[in-house]
């Protein structure tokens, strides 16, 4: 019996311990640790923690060959990451800031994203004053970024004080100004300023901040423009492939890779294949749902030489290891892009350029194009361009003639790839395609 009573006494003691256990809330343990008897000075700033809450799609530190030990996070473009931060500024009470300190209102919390430019300067991309310690951060272009959280809160040592009137413009206001920082007594006609923040006696703003370096990786295949230009009829063929590229460079940058026109009439001088990420909404797709838009424009994409503009969406294939994307276009009789149809005895040149979202499509890059036979042997150029003297289309009529293929590929520095391979047909025609006539 005696031991039984001792047991229940122990239970009672443990009840008391449990009931008075430290709460899950942040109640300022530092102050109790300090156990200072004197009133401590309020610091100008305190430290802050910052991180990603759900790290499912945070890539390993050595992702795509990145150096380890830098502490930077490896993110994928267009993937939203929920950030979280914390600081003693966000506690229930201000004991962790200074002895006897009190908060004089709610914290001000700002989320900022800065991007490093080519000169190493960090420029603000976005700044959001959310007053929340979590924030979804979705960065849509590759590059080096820093996500910054800046926090601030008014802290007072003790007591409260009157708010101050705002302003004396030198007129008659003077002591008549009835303003109150607390906003409680001044009538206001539908205006701001009545938030009524508690006015601390010596309230001062204490700050905290933290940053994370983030390498945002490119998961988008490059945009590619390919121009085919014949030198016949009323068309003045560009002297060289380089000259044709020069015609395209400014247009592809200006149009962010999108077709510069959807009107077939605008493609009488040259025919184009546009392969790009598509509409703005498509451009922000998460890496494993990326698509591409293929547009063909001009007279060379059907055997009749009829001018047209057609557009369609393609799927992109993601590499599950390094999250690079590959947009692959294969043309053929049973495909939407049947092939490119050129005329025998009519010289033509081909040029291709690409832009990449890695630098916001701000510059155009070189893309190799080639015409090859079924065995992969290159077809030699005739001077600056190509010239086929023997038709091979319709294929049933020219079975003895070789198959030709047009192929090109563009790859960005991260390994995202765009490839096109389609039949090239040499049509037996003497008529100008501009008129839509064929022999």
């Amino acid at each position: 019996m005696k031991s039984f009573n001792r047991f229940w006494l122990a239970v009672a003691v443990m009840f008391v311990c449990v009931a008075s256990a430290p709460a899950y809330a942040q109640t300022g343990t530092a102050a109790t640790d300090a156990a200072a008897t004197e009133e401590a000075a309020i610091p100008g700033s305190v430290d802050m923690s910052l991180g990603v809450k759900d790290t499912t799609y945070v890539m390993p530190e050595n992702f795509r060959g990145k150096e380890t030990g830098e502490g930077d996070q490896q993110w994928l473009e267009d993937v939203g990451y929920l950030m979280q931060e914390n600081s003693d500024l966000y506690n229930v009470d201000a004991a962790a800031i200074a002895e006897s300190a009190k908060f004089a209102g709610e914290p001000n919390i700002n989320w900022e994203v800065k991007k490093e430019d080519a000169d190493g300067n960090l420029n603000t991309e976005s700044s959001d004053n959310t007053n929340k310690a979590t924030n979804n951060s979705n960065i849509k272009d590759p590059g080096y970024y820093q996500v910054h959280n800046g926090g601030a809160r008014q802290v007072s040592t003790a007591g409260g004080a009157e708010g101050e009137a705002v302003g004396d413009s030198g007129g008659e206001s003077g002591g008549e100004s009835g303003g109150s920082a607390g906003g409680s007594e001044t009538a206001s006609t539908g205006n701001e300023g009545d938030a009524g923040a508690a006015a601390g006696g010596d309230a001062q703003t204490v700050t905290a901040q933290q940053r994370i370096g983030i390498e945002v990786h490119d998961c988008t295949a490059p945009d590619v423009w390919i121009a085919f230009q014949e030198g016949a009829g009323t068309v003045n063929m560009a002297a060289t492939e380089e000259a044709l590229k020069a015609q395209m460079v400014s247009k592809i940058i200006e149009n962010m890779g999108k077709p510069f026109s959807t009107d077939a009439k605008d493609f009488e001088d040259a025919s184009y294949i546009f392969l790009e990420e598509g509409e703005d909404a498509d451009r922000d797709s998460i890496p494993w749902e990326k698509t591409a838009r293929l547009s063909i424009a001009g007279t060379l994409f059907n055997e009749r030489g009829a001018p047209k503009f057609e557009s369609g969406k393609l799927s992109s294939k993601i590499n599950q290891n390094d999250y690079t994307n590959h947009v692959n276009v294969i043309g053929g009789e049973d495909k939407s892009l049947k092939g490119v149809y050129v005329r025998r005895n009519v010289p033509f040149i081909i040029a291709a350029i690409s832009t990449d979202n890695g630098n916001k499509r701000a510059s155009a890059g070189e893309v190799e194009v080639r015409i090859e036979d079924a065995a992969g042997n290159l077809v030699e150029k005739d001077g600056e361009g190509y010239l086929f003297r023997v038709p091979n289309y319709p294929r049933a009529d020219y079975k003895d003639q070789p198959d030709y293929f047009f192929a090109t590929s563009a790859v960005d520095k991260d390994g995202n790839l765009t490839t096109i391979r389609m039949p090239l047909y040499v049509v037996n025609t003497q008529a100008a395609f501009e008129g839509g006539r064929n022999q």
Binding site: S169, G171, N191
Partner: protein, 336 residues
């Protein structure tokens, strides 16, 4: 003591613990809603130096505790983050081979504590990295200029001997208030029998103009202003925003029948706070530039037949904000 007692004891303890913790967690979320969903502690797990920062005026003087709206000041930030090398120790921990690995990133904000909103400062002209022009655009009795600076650094971890990247941080605030120097921008809405109305309102233009005087446009709309086209908006531009805003009759007026009963509604606007005790509106004549009311002040309904109208009556609004900035707007009232 039997097994049943022990089991009962454990059950009570577990239940009580869960209850206490759940209650405390709920209370914490209620008191700190900004922390909803946060699962990390308030201090960084890895070493991340916090370095002192001072901000002051371009000429080296302290930032005044009172600023004036729309008046720009150039500030300078002073911190060891701009030194050639990072600190070699922090809070007693050695930071061997410490090197900066990125440029400093600097952010300046103006917090209006009365609204708990901040505005990011940005310089339109080229300044040194540690400088910023701050122009407070809205008055407040409780504000703060904050500066946040961070810089990526690398050091050799004493534990592992390997490179380790972290951020050095500096941030500080200067508490200020911002004087209101913009007069109110009030207008009136007049309605008569039959539903015809006329409205006029005031907008500062250009906004945030300094030096003084402030300028404003007065806009008019409604059948009592232009009967042929009530939807048309007539603009009287470039009046000095202040105590003598007289709208020329040839530019705009409010036309009312002689037997009309005017319903008058105030459109009170100020960029901070109106002093409602000083607010006056109604019908007046002008004497020495001041309104002399001829109708009951601030009446929502005025019968013209009850008034002795002067030769040139005006609708007027006389508004003062809590800082003493005064706007008096006179709009010609044409009685037909």
């Amino acid at each position: 003591m039997n097994t049943r007692s022990i089991l009962l004891f454990i059950a009570i303890i577990v239940g009580l613990s869960v209850s206490v913790l759940a209650q405390d967690s709920a209370d914490a979320n209620k008191e700190t809603p900004w922390l909803e969903g946060v699962t990390i502690g308030p201090h960084p797990e890895e070493l991340s130096p916090v370095l002192p920062l001072k901000i002051y005026m371009e000429n080296g003087e302290a930032i005044p505790a009172t600023l004036t709206e729309d008046v720009a000041i150039t500030l300078v930030a002073d911190t060891a983050i701009f030194d050639p090398e990072p600190p070699s120790e922090y809070n007693g921990t050695e930071l061997p081979d410490a090197k900066w690995t990125r440029n400093a990133a600097v952010s300046w904000f103006f917090i209006d504590w009365e609204k708990n909103k901040n505005v990011a400062a940005s310089a339109t002209h080229q300044l040194a990295l540690n400088q910023m022009v701050v122009t407070p655009l809205n008055p407040t009795g409780k504000g703060a200029i904050t500066c946040h600076i961070g810089r990526k650094m690398r050091y050799t971890s004493p534990e592992t001997g390997k490179n380790k990247g972290t951020f050095a941080n500096s941030s500080v605030a200067q508490d200020v208030r911002v004087l209101d120097i913009t007069p109110p921008t009030c207008g009136l809405e007049i309605t008569v029998q039959g539903g015809r109305s006329g409205t006029f309102w005031v907008a500062e233009n250009p906004p945030n103009k300094y030096p003084l005087p402030k300028l404003a446009d007065v806009y008019f709309s409604g059948a009592l202003v232009k009967e042929a086209d009530p939807a048309a908006i007539i603009t009287v531009p470039g009046l000095e925003l202040g105590a003598n805003m007289v709208v020329p009759q040839e530019m705009a007026a409010v036309y009312v029948p002689a037997d009309a009963v005017l319903n008058i509604k105030l459109n009170g606007e100020d960029n901070y706070k109106l002093d409602n005790a000083k607010l006056k509106y109604g019908i007046c004549k002008i004497a020495s530039g001041e309104p002399v009311p001829i109708s009951p002040l601030n009446a929502s309904e005025v019968a013209l037949a009850d008034l002795t109208l002067p030769e040139n009556p005006y609708l007027f609004v006389d508004a003062t904000d809590v800082a003493g900035n005064r706007q008096v707007l006179f709009v010609p009232l044409i009685v037909k």
